[in-house]
Symmetry: D2
Amino acid sequence: MNFEYTEKVQELQKKLNDFMDEFIYPNESLYEEQLSKAERFTYVPPIIEELKEKAKEKGLWNLFLPESEYGAGLTNIEYAPLCEIMGRSSIAPEVFNCAAPDTGNMEVLVRYGSKEQKEKWLDPLLNGKIRSCFSMTEPDVASSDATNINTSIVRDGNDYVINGTKWWSSGAGDPRCEIAIVMGKSDPNAPKHEQQSMILVPLDTEGVHMKRTLPVFGYDHAPHGHAEIEYNNVRVPAENLLWGEGKGFAIAQGRLGPGRIHHCMRTIGAAEQALEDMCKRVSEREAFGKKLAEQGVIREWIADSRIEIDQARLLTLKAAYMMDTVGNKEAKAEIAMIKVVAPNMALKVIDRAIQAFGAAGVSNDFSLAAKWANIRTLRLADGPDEVHRRAVAKYELRKHQ
Amino acid sequence: MNFEYTEKVQELQKKLNDFMDEFIYPNESLYEEQLSKAERFTYVPPIIEELKEKAKEKGLWNLFLPESEYGAGLTNIEYAPLCEIMGRSSIAPEVFNCAAPDTGNMEVLVRYGSKEQKEKWLDPLLNGKIRSCFSMTEPDVASSDATNINTSIVRDGNDYVINGTKWWSSGAGDPRCEIAIVMGKSDPNAPKHEQQSMILVPLDTEGVHMKRTLPVFGYDHAPHGHAEIEYNNVRVPAENLLWGEGKGFAIAQGRLGPGRIHHCMRTIGAAEQALEDMCKRVSEREAFGKKLAEQGVIREWIADSRIEIDQARLLTLKAAYMMDTVGNKEAKAEIAMIKVVAPNMALKVIDRAIQAFGAAGVSNDFSLAAKWANIRTLRLADGPDEVHRRAVAKYELRKHQ
Amino acid sequence: MNFEYTEKVQELQKKLNDFMDEFIYPNESLYEEQLSKAERFTYVPPIIEELKEKAKEKGLWNLFLPESEYGAGLTNIEYAPLCEIMGRSSIAPEVFNCAAPDTGNMEVLVRYGSKEQKEKWLDPLLNGKIRSCFSMTEPDVASSDATNINTSIVRDGNDYVINGTKWWSSGAGDPRCEIAIVMGKSDPNAPKHEQQSMILVPLDTEGVHMKRTLPVFGYDHAPHGHAEIEYNNVRVPAENLLWGEGKGFAIAQGRLGPGRIHHCMRTIGAAEQALEDMCKRVSEREAFGKKLAEQGVIREWIADSRIEIDQARLLTLKAAYMMDTVGNKEAKAEIAMIKVVAPNMALKVIDRAIQAFGAAGVSNDFSLAAKWANIRTLRLADGPDEVHRRAVAKYELRKHQ
Amino acid sequence: MNFEYTEKVQELQKKLNDFMDEFIYPNESLYEEQLSKAERFTYVPPIIEELKEKAKEKGLWNLFLPESEYGAGLTNIEYAPLCEIMGRSSIAPEVFNCAAPDTGNMEVLVRYGSKEQKEKWLDPLLNGKIRSCFSMTEPDVASSDATNINTSIVRDGNDYVINGTKWWSSGAGDPRCEIAIVMGKSDPNAPKHEQQSMILVPLDTEGVHMKRTLPVFGYDHAPHGHAEIEYNNVRVPAENLLWGEGKGFAIAQGRLGPGRIHHCMRTIGAAEQALEDMCKRVSEREAFGKKLAEQGVIREWIADSRIEIDQARLLTLKAAYMMDTVGNKEAKAEIAMIKVVAPNMALKVIDRAIQAFGAAGVSNDFSLAAKWANIRTLRLADGPDEVHRRAVAKYELRKHQ
């Protein structure tokens, strides 16, 4: 395993950090201010589009997408430290066109999209002109087991007709979101993992009903949002199907590897930022006659945080390295492991930081509470912890059979 | 230790549970609906006042307040199981006039208020006509060490003049909130724990500036709210001082015992409700070919939750029993212990329930996320965990000296 | 729930504590010294029999055995605080004739023994003249599931013939141990929980082969010992059968309730003693310029220990109270809970104490390491943690069905 | 960071694994058998010396010792995976002449020894002819703070005279142990970290009194042993001093880096072995109608173990890499981190394996209990966890000052 950051990566790290310092951190509060001025989910703070232009100019654009003509041509191990930096600010990933769920959706289109699908949807996504969502989980079933998914995708002449209710279609609240990738059952009688298909559904198609957005703890995550969408007799041309009927599971597997590791990288950046915030705060404040930073219990929080972050980062780098060298499939155990490790680690680190900040920590004067809520969803999204642990155990036990 | 619920208590439990079933649970969503219709912090959902009337009629009113002519005459051990029931719904405590910070403030007025102060402020509070807030912590200092508090309360003729900035004045957002108890320094040269005083400040006094309310993990907790208040040359008559100059610390100590145990009792109720919700949910949903309730890992969550709740309840009952029999002061170690135990326990239980609910758990379709956020503040409010642990250790070490 | 210690109990506590101070603690090292002088498992330190005589004289004898003409007539809630005191010293329980597995075995004989069985085995056990063992678990199967047990008990004329290998027959190493209660299968075709029987087997019967004793983390626990015993065509008279054929499971259930709670009580005493030791040690030693007792991290260990012990004790008292008032069967959830809680709690407390003692803690200069090893077995004995958690979850889920 | 195992390392791994399979694992029980036949601490099982010869022949000898003419010339990152393999069996490290405390002592002699000291002590150690011990901690002071150390080393003519009591001089019980490195105070008036010196003391010098060996839990670790040694007016020639007066602390620091990382590597091997044992055991045994390996809770133990081991290994490799590339001093934070991580991780993994094995796990039929006890000492040896956490926090806080 070679985790050395190459010269190319080190340069990008520097450029990215400079950009963060110059453009991202100083505009975080402006973003909030602009956002607060209009009705939720109708308005994107203009600073975002301004920053996207700047990022494009600097060549900090589409850094994700390994082994692809479309992206920056970085491997996962090269992208990891850059993605981590983006994870330090909640507004950063979008500025660099590296935000979920677009990155995952672009990957799907790159790998499984037809020429026409690419022209129509991939190009504007790569250019940051539109946004997208991913409609997978459903309110009525335990979606941690994807075979439970119930939405139907039925062939009817030259069309497919879609019926079902999805939720947690993240990003669908954004006025710029134009396209959904919908997963559903196209053949309930096929073998278990070939019943599902994925299909592209423009959000302005008749029958697409955006019921509401769901909050995460008390955050609505506007303009992004997590939508509940009813698909009522939604009819799209047959050529909107991705790859082929029955390929839904295979695409989901292909999509989830990179999607999961990006989440982990950003999560590590968020934890690193929280630790930094904690160290600074406790160095300033005093209680019971000495700096908080001099109190043994708080020192233990700092030490444990550093230890946990470093371990999670190394395991994430290992997973990235394996994805690059032996492929996403061979790296599945490692991907499952970091999917458990990174969010749990970050939640602990951020919780300690909140505790060190006192009541300020649960408010929005600092980013800790929002980060915590956001990362709490990652113990559920793309498979809950317990399902990933099951998988890790299964691979481990197989070694001895 | 006798934790037996007397016949009186059992009757009250029954009455209270019946009331919860008939009036509280069915109206939780109406409350949210009414609340969502008006501007935040300008409007109290009318269902609350209707329910208060009903509760009064049923004699379920002011059940807190031990050893007092004003309350229901219940001891702490008698009130505990009732308070726990109220903790199952976030709208319940107010309906029974048993909500923080009013209960704590009423206790202060009962114990330390003058006859005039009682007439003016205690009576309307006991009748549920007005609400109150408690202005203690400050943004500029680590308020976990109360000697850091900086707001000044200076005698000037027949008045006191107050200057300083307070935050987390919970309840100050409520349009019905009329009075604040403010803690500040009246004599910076007195011995360390005699520098502070507490004073009653009507919120409509000139110079009281409500800057904003602070959210908790995205929740604004309207209409209640957690306010940041500037006191700029706020002048109140000298008779508004509570007990006497330099008595601030002593009052705070007296106030915090009952306040803390009430929080713990409600927290146990919230955890109990979350466990119940989890058990029901996992009995309905299926994944990987069997009910969630039949999966070993989830059974472990349930078992650990039951074990932790029962232990926390018993320790809380013990603290209540000691407060009743040997007094709040002798019970200080036990109060500190439950202040650490109850919120940490409940956060674990609720977090497991959230995990069992899947993404639904972090939304507001269920009460879990809101409960979690609310209880997370209790690891900070009224003294952070680490300060209470310090205290417990101090008492323990003393036994061996 | 009334956990109040009655006057009778308070008197017994005082007598017991005085006895501990006068006779037990001062003789712990003499016991070790005497033990070290002879070959293992051939010799009982004479101080034990001397102390037993003294305990008998003082009336501190057979304090266990609730609701029985044979014991001291104490209820479980009365016995709990006394048993806890005995748990503070590893030599104490035997001195008061309250040591496992004799207590459990005596309970079995009281409840299920015939008049003849009682005369022959119960009387000398109650008098402390002989000792006994319990032969249940087997090396070849996962004995956590008692239906796996394989030893056969076959009727042959007026005899039963026993074949099988048992291990962890604790106490069988003691030269005074004369009788085993053996569990085995008498009818493999009966319903699952009626296949088993229990039978009394004198250890000098032909075919009883004591293969070896098993150490626990390096401790041989001589003279007590944990024996592996082969039963090769062991023939005993039919009247040695307990209660009746197929009653093995029912007896095991009846035996385990009290046995488990006694273990828990003693475990709490051991934890309490460890916390006391830790407090004293850290008050004496200095590092980095101040007493260990003044270091925040160590204070947290002390606080958490106090908090955990108190909670475990209260839950154990609740289980005892329920056993007394609604019976062992109704108390099964509570017994399962404390069986998980008490050993896990004590292991944490003792481990912290070891850490606070430094390397001395892992040696035998103090009792911590031996205590830890001993209590570690309790997470396995009488059902492993995970089986008890399963049971607790099952009872909990049932409430909502 | 490049953690890639080079071809050289891969070959050594293979050779080492083959040797383990052929000679080490099959002789573990023979070692125990031979050991059990003679009086403790008088006898070394002859199989050890036989295996040492074989290891020498195969070139698997002195693989430790980076950057040195004496060793195999491996870097830390190269030695790490080899040392891990040795950690899988308690008898392996000595067979390859890579056992503590000899490795640490040899490093001291290589770095700080004079030509004469090397000839006299280093050569026979490198050849495996003699063994050595390290006399640092003292029973009367908290030795976690090395400035507390009290033993005196006083110049007297051409000699030094040593007085003091040391304990945990590990390895001093071995009949082949000939030399001790003793740390003591040579100048109580010098600056705090220059008061100490280290000196070579042959164990047959007059005044060296081996009081006893200390057990670890119930294990005596014969023939190695952990000795308490009184140094009563022990007189050695002045040339036995290492490096120079006042250099004791500096040597200790230099010694501890490699010593600590070797412990961590071996610990990871021990954990890996325990996980393997657990996976095999649970695949064989059944309870409640299915294989233990199919029960969710046990799968979680396996998954968590795999996740924790992999993270600890990566962090250890990072520390090794830093020691190789930027030096032990720059790697001090990473060394402190793994010193906390590796033993705590291994204790958890092994404890889970014990639980999965049932009562067999606490016995000596399997190596789990012995491993656990041994590794428990590593949370204390070479600095307790809490001191290393303090250090990690200190380095972290410095980044922000």
